[in-house]
């Protein structure tokens, strides 16, 4: 195998023109380059180089390549382990996009009279793509919102006075008025890339090779240990690295719906509950947008469908059954000559004096990113 010419857009979406496609490739390759380089020693210790992580456009993928899909549950683990029951956790997860931190966010539509759910829209599209699309074709952004969210969306709902696209806008900042793309502060492609690269460092600390997901993420500090996604992605990548292989994220780099299981689901008319799960954006193998909705000609709604006998009352109940996926490719098994790090990542104390300028493109928050100081805006950002 050889290199690829360029990275495709997530899901091989077709919204971008030629210029946009080139810009997207530049964004991904820059992000990957930055992630391969990692922070310098002045910004983080024991976190570079990431010599086993590579760029598909610049380094060959060898003939022994195997693909390694990594999947995890869309329901936020942090909410799950801190709740005392299902009803409590479903309510909490349905209450705010800011807690939907497993690279999947959703919005619930209910019948105003009965309160029953009529539709749940799910997205796993990273916001960076929309930033770029908004710069290259604002009209397309508006049209997509009108197609997927509401025909009532207006230009000034999405763009600020200065014309800049607002990731969080009235049609994409809640769990009730639509979900066009990811907005939770940690849910970005930049974070995915940085996480995968940082996790490719093999660590042997005090003579012991670290192998478990939680040990690795605590030591490598590449994400939030309380999520399903971050430790699992990191653990899977590191397991490949420990086989002395090189690792890359497959093209197109992105986060994708893997599946909706419907074990125990039942529709009132005996129809297949999975038939109401449809992908609305992305190609057949890389879906990035899904909707769960019963067609209008049926005599029931989502809220009439049961799971093990219990009606669907929350979008979060569906999220329990959704898996999200990313894919890595590994090759040159047994050939890496990179040496393990023998210590965990350490961040030096911030310099005295005036606060350093924030370099991340997104606001920091308790649930979100912490910028990697070496990175340019919105590229390599560490999930925290």
């Amino acid at each position: 195998m050889s290199t690829i010419n360029a990275y495709d857009p997530p899901g091989r979406l077709t919204d971008l023109d030629e210029t946009g496609l080139k810009a997207w490739n530049v964004f991904i390759t820059n992000s990957i380059d930055q992630a391969i380089k990692g922070p310098d020693a002045g910004q983080a210790l024991n976190d570079s180089p990431r010599s086993q992580f590579y760029d598909l456009t610049r380094t060959d993928t060898a003939a022994d390549a195997t693909e390694a899909p990594v999947t995890w549950t869309a329901f936020p683990r942090r909410i799950k382990v801190h709740s005392i029951g299902d009803n409590q956790r479903w309510q909490r997860a349905d209450a705010s996009r800011d807690v939907q931190d497993e690279y999947c966010e959703w919005s619930v539509t209910r019948d105003p009279s009965s309160g029953k759910i009529t539709q749940v829209m799910f997205t796993c599209e990273g916001p960076e793509y929309w930033d770029l699309l908004a710069q290259s074709s604002p009209a397309t952004v508006l049209q997509l919102y009108r197609t997927h969210i509401s025909p009532n969306v207006q230009q000034n709902d999405l763009f600020g006075i200065d014309g800049s696209y607002q990731r969080r806008n009235r049609w994409n900042d809640s769990t009730t008025h639509g979900a066009m793309h990811l907005i939770q502060a940690a849910n970005t492609l930049g974070a995915e890339i940085e996480l995968a690269a940082a996790a490719s460092i093999v660590r042997v600390v005090n003579g012991q090779e670290l192998t478990t997901d939680q040990e690795l993420i605590q030591c490598g500090k590449y994400g939030e240990p309380e999520r399903n996604s971050d430790p699992h992605i990191g653990g899977a990548v590191n397991a490949i690295a420990r086989q002395k292989a090189d690792i890359a994220l497959t093209n197109p780099v992105g986060l994708y719906f893997d599946d909706l299981k419907t074990d125990g689901w039942a529709a009132p008319d005996g129809s297949d509950p999975k038939s109401y799960w449809t992908y609305r954006r992305g190609d057949a193998t890389h879906p990035v947008r899904a909707v769960y909705e019963v067609p209008a000609d049926r005599n029931f709604t989502v809220g009439d469908i049961t799971i093990n006998g219990t009606p669907i009352q929350y979008g979060a109940q569906i999220a329990d059954f959704i898996t999200i996926r990313l894919s890595a490719v590994a090759c040159r098994f047994g050939q890496s000559t990179g040496q393990p790090q023998t210590a965990c990542v350490q961040f030096p104390p911030p310099p005295a004096g005036p606060a350093a300028p924030a370099l991340a493109a997104v606001p920091l928050s308790a649930h979100g990113y912490r910028s990697s100081p070496a990175a340019p805006s919105s590229l390599t950002t560490r999930r925290r």
Binding site: K80, D213, Q214, K261, F321
Partner: protein, 546 residues
Amino acid sequence: MQEFHEHRRATAWARKSLGAVADSPRDTAGAADATEFRISAGDRLRIDALETGRLYRHVTGIDHEARLMTPQELAELGDPMATVLFRRNIFPMTVQELLAALPQPTTPSQQAVYLISEAGQIPPDTAPGLHRDIRFAITRCVQGRDVDLLVSTGANADPATTFLQVAAWDPIAKVFNYYMRITPTWVWAGNSWSALAPGSRGNGCFDSHINGSVVMKELRQPWLNWQSQAATIQLAPDDPLRGDPLYQQVSGAQNLELTVRSLVSRWTAARLAAVTADGTIEHPDHLLRHLFTTTSVNLTSSATQSATITPTGDDLPLPAGLWLNNDALLDDLALPATASLPLAPASRYVDSLTTFGFRLEEKAGGFSRTGDSFFAFVTPEAAYEDNDVVRQMVQQAIIPAKFAACALMVDFTNPVFSTDRARLMAYVPTAPTAVAALSDRIVQAILAAAAKLPATSPEARFAAAWNLTDNSWATTFAQRIDTYLGHVTARIRTPSGFDDYVRLAESRRREFRAMRLNEFELTLPVTDIPADAPRLTMLEDATVTP
């Protein structure tokens, strides 16, 4: 007589008296994973007399020896093993042959492979002599869009000689049929009703499939012992299992949880429909024991890897099932409690590991290692299969929600192994009873007894709860739960309080160890707390007492 040998180790049974169990004390048949079952706990099958290509039956406790199934019996089996294989004289002898003989999946979701090992998180290079007992659990949709066939088999053993067992759903009879290969053929070991029948209940494979459905003990995140999104079973770099096509298909146990829950509910629904079909329940006690007693348990734990917990780490959420039957009370019955999950200081947990001498031990193999189970603080919790029967009985108005809540609120601080709650079984009729009269008959019997008993008796506590008005019982129960969890939240931060909860969890683990569900010594940690320490009880003020 040739010994039945296609079974697996059950190290936790090694020190129990099992009568005529196989010659090696470490060898007993069966398992208690998603689909596993055992055919004999003391039986010896005349396998030298078994003929190739014939289906036999041997229901432990009913059949003294295996016999050929009659053509009519075979015709009455409607599951995929019978209809797709045995009726066509196909008798696959390995898991690979079995999967190949079935209609091939047309979508990836029609087959899933899972992996479990109680030793799976012990690095192979640190315990090279340790048996790892890695098993596959495989689900398959054969006759429709839902899983109807589950396979359990050894993963790191010769497929021709390791155990190979199947639970298969019969959509006509609406039961699971249980099969196992005994070379050179297959044996039908019973169906879901066998689990409830007096002769076979608790025997053979039904000592783990206690209520007739498939079993996944570690049913909740983080799925202790399973490969999942929370943990990967560790293999040596050169472990031949890595090259096994089945291993390469392994997916996370988070998916198996969803499947098993649905299968348990499928059987519960079928069972309730059958036993209430004519408006009279022949054995009311068979249903009500799910409410008043602990017929089985699941194992739960914190979601945090024990080895990563440090004294200065974040507070540790212990599993909710330690404190109460949260699934039944807060979710199924929707009591409007508002309390948060109690959090334990990490330092208390770390200290307790030394205080109580936590370690993993497999005496059968001479293995011992300091520390807790891979995920911290494992404890038995109320079984999904018990709760599901209660939930569906309420949904189908076999019992009122208030009745179920009043029963569960008796000793609600002890969600499993409650002797107080179990005492109320004495008031459950054992003779055929009309569905419409069932709960009222029990209530009246308890109320009558309560009038003559102290206010602290289980009967009087049930009566006090029952006498709450229809408008107030749910909120009153919720307030009691909130108050109790408030006490727990305070006490768990104290050294004595936390240590009490360690002792409480160990007390419940001792109860679990006495069950046949407990197959492997490495399923649970052991401590320095004596094995004969008194059973402990949690009180509503969050104190613990013998």
